[in-house]
């Protein structure tokens, strides 16, 4: 099935060295797959020309879906006909990226039949990415995927594939069940995921604690990050153990507490939990001795995005603390209100974080019916430019709406 072996002197250089080589992966696939072989050829050409040889994507998809496929066409189709179309398929991964060998093999079988045999495990958003196939293979691939129980992920102006850290499956610090919530949200928003109807993309990311192992705060429109409200759990004996084993508790633990709320007298650790900002540092440093409290839940933040085009944003606090238990009604009510407001008032290609900045956070909160709290700001305003909406009139002493 394979075509002539290509000469790839530049890429060959990238087979050297001890880090696993993507070139080897492509070559392995290229041995039996003409798409992979032409990809190798075109990529070598890019290395020579120092430029991408892909054309601006076109819109392709599967029946009834508006997202999930990224269309891609070569700008050298004569030379590399097997990648003249080379669309990727974004497949919604199982929450937490857990697999069995069995299901992985079945996925491979599908992709062997219908595509390049190359994948990304996984894409930056979290999808399992099937990297490159022709337009007419999309529908058959989709059908086999759904038969296996998989569905497409997001692309375009839709809800993107939610993703999460492994949470309660393997981490002692998970303050809520990230995988359960991810699965729930993915199922709840199937329509929004598959049929783009927003001003721009919307991403959910779930981390079980403030360590934020899926970088939710940096790259999701709604970042749901576990935290707790009560006292850090302390195992005194284990603290002593750490101290004995050479941990410099004063310098490395207490000295790095951002809230300056810890004290160490050489024997016992004292935490002013009302002042603790739940940063995780002391817990990270002594996992056997300290643990998040028992009153656990999450902080919901909103609006992160990459820099295009007004500058990058981190998410900001929207709901300082929420208990996250099925059926998650409080959360979905909130999301629905935001989606409605943004869908109606957002400009084209305006992410929700930019939208909030444009209309003002105060107005945004008012519109979605959330009370402002000081947790939402790093600090109150420094400028005196308040848009008061009312003033008193001479005669009436009543309010007037301006």
């Amino acid at each position: 099935m394979a075509e002539k072996k290509r000469s790839t002197p530049q890429l060959d250089e990238l087979e050297k060295g001890s880090w696993p080589s993507f070139v080897k992966e492509i070559k392995t696939a290229a041995e039996k797959n003409p798409m992979a072989n032409d990809l190798l050829g075109q990529l070598e050409r890019s290395y020579e020309d120092k430029i991408s040889h892909w054309k601006h994507g076109g819109i392709v998809g599967v029946l009834g879906y508006g997202g999930g496929i990224i269309g891609r066409y070569s700008d050298l189709p004569e030379e590399f006909p097997n990648v003249s179309h080379f669309h990727t398929i974004r497949i919604n991964q199982p929450a937490g990226w857990f697999y069995t060998s069995d299901v992985l093999r079945k996925l491979c079988d599908i992709w062997e039949k219908h595509g390049s045999g190359l994948t990304n495990m996984h894409g930056s958003t979290g999808d399992l990415v099937f990297l490159g196939t022709k337009t007419d293979e999309l529908e058959p691939t989709f059908n086999e995927l759904t038969d296996l129980g998989f569905d497409l992920g997001g692309s375009g102006s839709d809800v993107r594939t939610p993703s999460c850290c492994c949470g309660m499956a393997r981490c002692e610090w998970a303050c809520y069940d990230t995988m359960a919530l991810t699965y729930f949200l993915t199922m709840h928003y199937q329509d929004e995921l598959h049929r783009p109807a927003f001003p721009y993309k919307w991403k959910f990311k779930m981390s079980g604690c403030p360590n934020d192992c899926v970088a939710a705060i940096a790259r999701s429109d709604m970042s749901i990050i576990g935290t707790w409200r009560d006292d850090i759990q302390v195992d005194e004996a284990a603290v002593t153990e750490y101290a004995k084993s050479g941990v410099d508790i004063q310098k490395d633990v207490v000295g790095n507490c951002p809230a300056k709320c810890m004290e160490w007298d050489g024997k016992k650790i004292k935490i002013d939990n009302k002042a603790c900002v739940k940063c995780m540092h002391c817990i990270n440093a002594m996992p056997k001795a300290l643990a998040p409290g028992k009153d656990r839940g999450a902080c919901i933040l909103i609006g992160a995005k990459a820099p295009i085009v007004e500058g990058a944003l981190l998410s900001s606090v929207l709901i300082p603390f929420i208990k996250l238990v099925p059926p998650y009604k409080e959360l979905t009510d909130l999301v629905e209100k935001i989606h409605e407001l943004w869908a109606e008032n957002g400009k084209n290609r305006e992410r929700v974080g930019e939208f909030i900045q444009r209309i003002g956070m105060g107005n945004f909160l008012e519109a979605i019916g959330v009370e402002p709290t000081p947790e939402m700001v790093a600090h109150p305003r420094e400028n005196p430019y308040v848009f008061y909406e009312e003033y008193f009139e001479e005669d009436s002493e009543d309010n007037k709406n301006a």
Binding site: G17, S101, L118, M121, H194, P210, R219, K288, A306, G311
Partner: protein, 362 residues
């Protein structure tokens, strides 16, 4: 080993399979009951449950771009060492989930034989989060996988050992769209364009809406014009800062350019809330031309940053925390990177980045 049964007719909106199908029994039994973890050696961790159960994780580095052959090889290893259970991480490494401690070392040897180093845990450098580059994206100002491979070849000992002051997270994005958390990385490698887009008039007429192209430009560098009686656009070159947003909405304004595309390097971002609040990465090296196949100048620059930080940071100090303590003047001095006009912000909130105190070192 659980099995997934194939189904019969066209289905839509079924969502992903439920994750429970893929969890090993030890996880199902101890879900939410984990008590603590311990990193036993590079890339190997045990998570201990309240029930006493012990789950071992072995993490191996990955190029992320995997052939189905490699995935099958992973599947074989999983079958052999851990009843078929494995997962991938948020930084695209592969993790094998074991219950039998004695199988750890044989698994590590097998992974080594497959060419996948074990490591990336605790105070190490984990895999580089990255994007498509010339492998699949039309936007890219540099390749992704190639730069990553070259840099990781050079830094691999930091992956397989745990001798750094803290975690160090490197990420690469091939253009300003910054797919991935590049903007909040200890070290970010970012593809950038430096030449204004060219206007392909015929194609523009055929494929783009002029008003949306004009409004896509944040600096009003794109202006509507009439050429030979036909509506088109022009680019006021000195207003362009190469964001490529016009290209994103209109393919007739290509910005990719072999001579002027390249790589910039950013430092000091972080995502976690541990100790300090999350931070954006800041510009360190404005421009390194693309030099495939191994981008030696980029490799060298990244190594220098890692080493200066590793030598000087205190325990637990991430790159950005270290810089905040010593100050940017000393950062530039210690790394030998020249400070230039382009380092000074001149975008929307530029004024908030000026030094508005006398807290200076000399």
């Amino acid at each position: 080993m659980p099995e997934v049964q194939p189904k019969q007719k066209r289905k839509t909106d079924i969502g992903p399979p439920h994750y429970e199908k893929f969890l090993p029994p030890i996880i199902k039994e101890n879900y939410g009951k984990w008590k603590y973890h311990e990193v036993l050696k590079p890339g190997v961790m045990v998570t201990v449950s309240e029930t006493g159960a012990r789950l071992y994780t072995v993490r191996a580095g990955s190029p992320r771009l995997l052939s189905i052959d490699k995935i099958r090889a992973y599947a074989d290893l999983a079958d052999k060492y851990c009843n078929g259970y494995l997962r991938f991480t948020s930084r695209h490494n592969v993790e094998f989930l074991l219950t039998d401690e004695s199988k750890i070392d044989p698994l590590i040897r097998a992974l080594d034989a497959l060419g996948h180093p074990v490591g990336g845990m605790a105070n190490s450098i984990s895999s580089i989060v990255h994007t498509q580059g010339w492998v699949h994206c039309h936007s890219s100002a540099t390749d992704a996988s190639g730069v990553v491979k070259a840099v990781m070849d050079d830094l691999i000992l930091y992956f397989t050992e745990m001798k750094l002051p803290a975690k160090l997270r490197i990420a690469l994005a091939c253009c300003l769209n910054m797919c991935g958390a590049v903007h909040c990385s200890d070290i970010a490698i970012l593809g950038i364009h430096r030449r204004p887009p060219k206007v392909n008039r015929d194609r523009l007429k055929a494929t783009c809406e002029i008003p949306s192209v004009v409004s896509a430009c944040p600096t009003a560098a794109v202006r509507p014009v009439t050429v030979d009686g036909q509506p088109s656009v022009e680019v006021i070159e000195e207003r362009c800062m190469f964001c490529a947003n016009c290209f994103t909405v209109c393919p007739a304004m290509p910005i990719n350019d072999p001579l002027n595309d390249g790589v910039s390097i950013w430092v000091g971002g972080k995502v976690s809330n541990a100790r300090s609040e999350p931070m954006f990465s800041k510009l360190a090296i404005p421009f390194i031309p693309n030099n495939p196949p191994r981008w030696p100048e980029v490799v060298e620059a990244v190594r220098n940053l890692v080493e200066v930080w590793a030598r000087n940071a205190r325990k637990y100090e991430r790159m950005g925390e270290w810089i905040n303590r010593i100050g940017w003047p000393r950062f530039f001095e210690m790394t030998g990177i020249p400070f230039e006009k382009v380092h000074i912000d001149d975008f929307k909130h530029a004024g908030t980045t000026f030094k508005r105190s006398t807290h200076l070192t000399y």
